[in-house]
């Protein structure tokens, strides 16, 4: 089975959020007719002062928050794991339609497009597209 993968190289991210921009436009009811990064299925986590930039792709929906949580330490700064979490989850507004929070947003790899739009628009090379075979 062919698995579509987006590889994220956080060190190359320039924080421009072009991925969020084009993702939201691509997934508009009429393609490209609106722009709104709050509807994007990708979100760039930023901590400018500590030079941390991580594009996070919207993953599965969950209707209950995690009970056990860990933290991530990068260059001595501690981040809650929610910072890099992919879930559409009751604890936060991320990855939900802003005007209809009951609707979760999830990355669909842009369906039949030859490349996911975020990869196509990432001029920095932080996002690359890889297909890999996996036994089903």
């Amino acid at each position: 089975m062919k698995i579509k993968t987006i590889r994220i190289d956080a060190s190359k991210c320039t924080g421009c959020r072009a991925c969020e921009m084009i993702c939201s436009a691509f997934h508009a009811e009429q393609k490209y007719s609106i722009a709104n990064p709050k509807r994007a299925r990708i979100n760039v986590f930023k901590d400018e002062e500590n030079d941390v930039y991580v594009p996070v792709l919207a993953g599965p929906y969950t209707d209950v928050e995690c009970l056990g949580r860990n933290t991530v330490t990068i260059n001595d700064k501690e981040y809650g794991e929610c910072s890099f979490c992919r879930a559409s989850c009751p604890t936060r507004v991320l990855f939900k339609e802003p005007d209809a929070p009951e609707i979760a947003l999830k990355c669909d790899m842009c369906g039949d497009e030859p490349l996911p739009m975020c990869v196509k628009w990432c001029m920095a090379g932080a996002l690359t597209y890889v297909e890999r075979e996996e036994a089903s």
Binding site: M21, S33, N36, M123
Partner: protein, 641 residues
């Protein structure tokens, strides 16, 4: 239904603590699109131009570009229009980053701030919810601390914050508004006006859509532009600059009053120093919203902290203080960002103070005991901090070189390099083109004035550059590049008007000038931007209409400033550049002493092309043609026209 723009406007009166929501007239967008065009028009409609910059009646008008917040390459800019305490003219600053798009997503293209709050406040805009909040606990905080504290207390990590630092609170003429660590609205005292209003910050969060009129066509044009951006993207990256261009860039940016670098100063290997520094220190390249160009960076100085660098910011201080150490430049710029200070005027003012000390005009009695010597990093950093706090000599320097010279006297005026009281960015105004665009610019500014063709090294490659179609100007104007500037200024006025219109349109659209004209390889020209505006808004804007819209804004700013007393005599650069020979090194760079006769001829021509009379006053015909009949009537009633 609005396309491209969103239509809303916030009017916030800080004296009354009142917030009103309005819808802008669609005609405003058709005439001015956005940015400083709309900002200038609203200023004129809402406040008397003669207003004292430090009075509650002065306005700060934040206006977003019409192509911001949609998938336009390099469109992240909004402008701030205000009456400048430094120039006493109507002025503006442009700032990129993420704030302007966020404002549109909240439903507003413009925010008009008037009045003066009795105590420090910040404004919180969260879609429909707009609130004036106490900022007493933020007063005195640096700009990064302020942004972090506001995000934390609002519990909203994606809010975009613009704010002033201590310099704005202390109303320095060189106080800026800062955003996100690397973006500044820096010049002409914009941060001082915000501080005078007791407004520490504006925090914005928006969740609404921005609609596009012809989406498929728009995205196709954008994708083509993204492809074209590849040349500039790598070229302008700091690594390329530090590896290949800094030695020459130094010659062109010889800063402040530092002028020539003597042998043995270390600057003969400046290029090498920059190369070594960037290889050692570069942590990350950064861009503004939806921009493929990596013009900003974070560097690490090996102390676990990260520092922002951009453009000439770090270089300015190394040259101003004659310290060939980029780590020093980085620390100075970082201090400016934290205190909320415009690095251009700050570095210029440092150079001015050191020069006065060297000449004996300032002595240790005036400097609170500081020895203002070239090469002394600690003294330079101390002086910047003293300026931000208005402490001792810092208080005299806090309002820039022009005012400081007035206070100091004793011949200090001769060491002031300003246009319309605003510090010049570099001394490359020995190049007549640079001098001319600076003198005629609507903000007395080279940095975001118009640069036809950037200087020095890439001149060597310019034939290929023009042939490949990168040049901003009509191909037939190549002849102007062969002009011998020591004898003849042919084409100067034509190129200035053409470039200025492009730059003005860029400001209305909200696109970055770095990507559209300042550097070689602009991947969006005015025709491309006009097409993008058409597809985004549904208006029909071709290149001719784009120039007309730009011209309307330029003429409106001019009409405002001539009403405020600006005359032809102000459209000049310091006398030094006419009276003194350039240094030997500058001559080697083909820089020449300016010629007053040629200058005046070009100024006549510039006014004529603009449709202004010989004193720089827009004519009745021009004003009527641009639909500015109210402005014509105003100038006539005042006897100016």
């Amino acid at each position: 239904m609005a396309y491209g723009w969103v239509g809303g406007s916030l009017e916030i009166d800080l004296s009354q603590g009142k917030v009103e929501k309005q819808q802008n007239d669609p005609g405003l967008y058709q005439a001015y699109l956005g940015g400083k065009g709309i900002g200038t028009r609203l200023f004129r409609d809402k406040a008397p131009l003669e207003v004292d910059p430090f009075s509650p009646e002065n306005l700060l008008i934040f206006a977003t570009g019409v192509l911001v917040g949609i998938p336009t390459p390099s469109a992240s800019f909004g402008t701030v229009s205000f009456k400048s305490p430094q120039t006493n003219l109507l002025s503006y600053c442009a700032m990129g980053g993420f704030w302007a798009a966020e404002l549109k997503h909240a439903g507003y293209d413009t925010v008009i701030v008037s009045g003066k709050s009795p105590s420090p406040v910040y404004i919180w805009i969260d879609d429909d919810h707009v609130e004036i909040r106490d900022a007493s606990h933020l007063w005195g905080k640096s700009t990064p601390e302020t942004q972090a504290a506001i995000r934390q207390e609002l519990g909203n990590n994606s809010a975009q914050v613009i704010c002033i630092g201590p310099a704005g609170e202390n109303r320095l003429f060189m106080a800026s508004i800062e955003h996100g660590g690397t973006n500044s609205a820096g010049r002409a005292g914009v941060g001082a006006v915000m501080g005078d209003k007791n407004l520490k910050a504006i925090a914005i969060h928006g969740t609404r859509d921005i609609d596009l009129a012809r989406p498929a066509e728009f995205v196709e044009l954008s994708e083509q532009a993204f492809k074209r951006s590849e040349t500039l993207r790598d070229w302008v990256a700091i690594k390329n600059w530090c590896h290949n261009y800094m030695q020459e860039h130094m010659d062109w940016a010889l800063y402040g009053n530092a002028d020539d670098m003597p042998a043995g100063s270390g600057f003969e290997r400046y290029g090498e120093i920059c190369r070594e520094f960037v290889d050692r220190s570069l942590a990350r390249e950064l861009s503004c919203y939806n921009c493929p160009v990596k013009c900003k960076s974070m560097v690490s100085l090996g102390n676990g902290k990260y520092y922002p660098v951009k453009c000439q910011a770090w270089m300015a201080f190394t040259l101003a203080c004659k310290i060939p150490d980029l780590a020093f430049g980085v620390k100075c710029f970082d201090l400016c960002v934290k205190q909320g200070m415009d690095y251009i005027s700050t570095a210029r003012t440092l150079a001015f103070a050191i020069e006065l000390y060297q000449k004996g005009i300032l002595t240790r009695e005036d400097t609170d005991g500081l020895r203002l010597e070239y090469g002394n990093a600690e003294v330079a950093l101390t002086l910047i901090a003293k300026m931000a706090r208005r402490e001792g000599l810092g208080n005299i320097l806090a309002d820039g070189t022009n005012r400081a010279a007035g206070i100091i006297g004793r011949g200090a005026e001769e060491h002031v390099y300003v246009v319309k009281k605003l510090e010049l960015m570099t001394d490359s105004v020995y190049n007549p083109y640079y001098a001319f665009v600076t003198a005629t610019s609507d903000r007395a500014d080279l940095h975001f004035g118009t640069v036809a063709l950037s200087p020095s090294s890439w001149h060597r490659e310019r034939d290929a550059y023009i042939e490949e179609g990168w040049w901003l100007f009509p191909q037939s104007w190549r002849q102007y590049l062969d002009v011998d500037y020591s004898a003849n200024y042919a084409g100067l006025a034509e190129m200035t008007v053409y470039g200025e219109d492009t730059k003005t349109f860029v400001d209305l659209a909200g696109i970055c000038w770095f990507c559209t004209g300042f550097w070689p390889f602009p991947f969006l020209k005015i025709g491309d931007m006009a097409r993008l505006v058409s597809c985004a808004t549904g208006m029909e804007v071709d290149e001719a209409e784009a120039r007309k819209i730009a011209s309307r804004t330029r003429t409106l700013i001019q009409a405002s400033n001539v009403r405020l007393g600006m005359t032809r005599r102000d459209d000049t650069v310091p006398e030094k550049f006419f009276a003194e020979e350039p240094t030997q090194r500058q001559k080697e760079l083909e820089l020449v002493r300016l010629d007053r006769g040629q200058w005046d001829k070009q100024l006549d021509r510039y006014y004529e092309l603009r449709g202004w009379n010989s004193q720089g006053v827009p004519t009745a015909e021009t004003l009527d043609e641009l639909g500015l009949d109210d402005v014509r009537q105003d100038l006539e009633e005042r006897g100016i026209l």
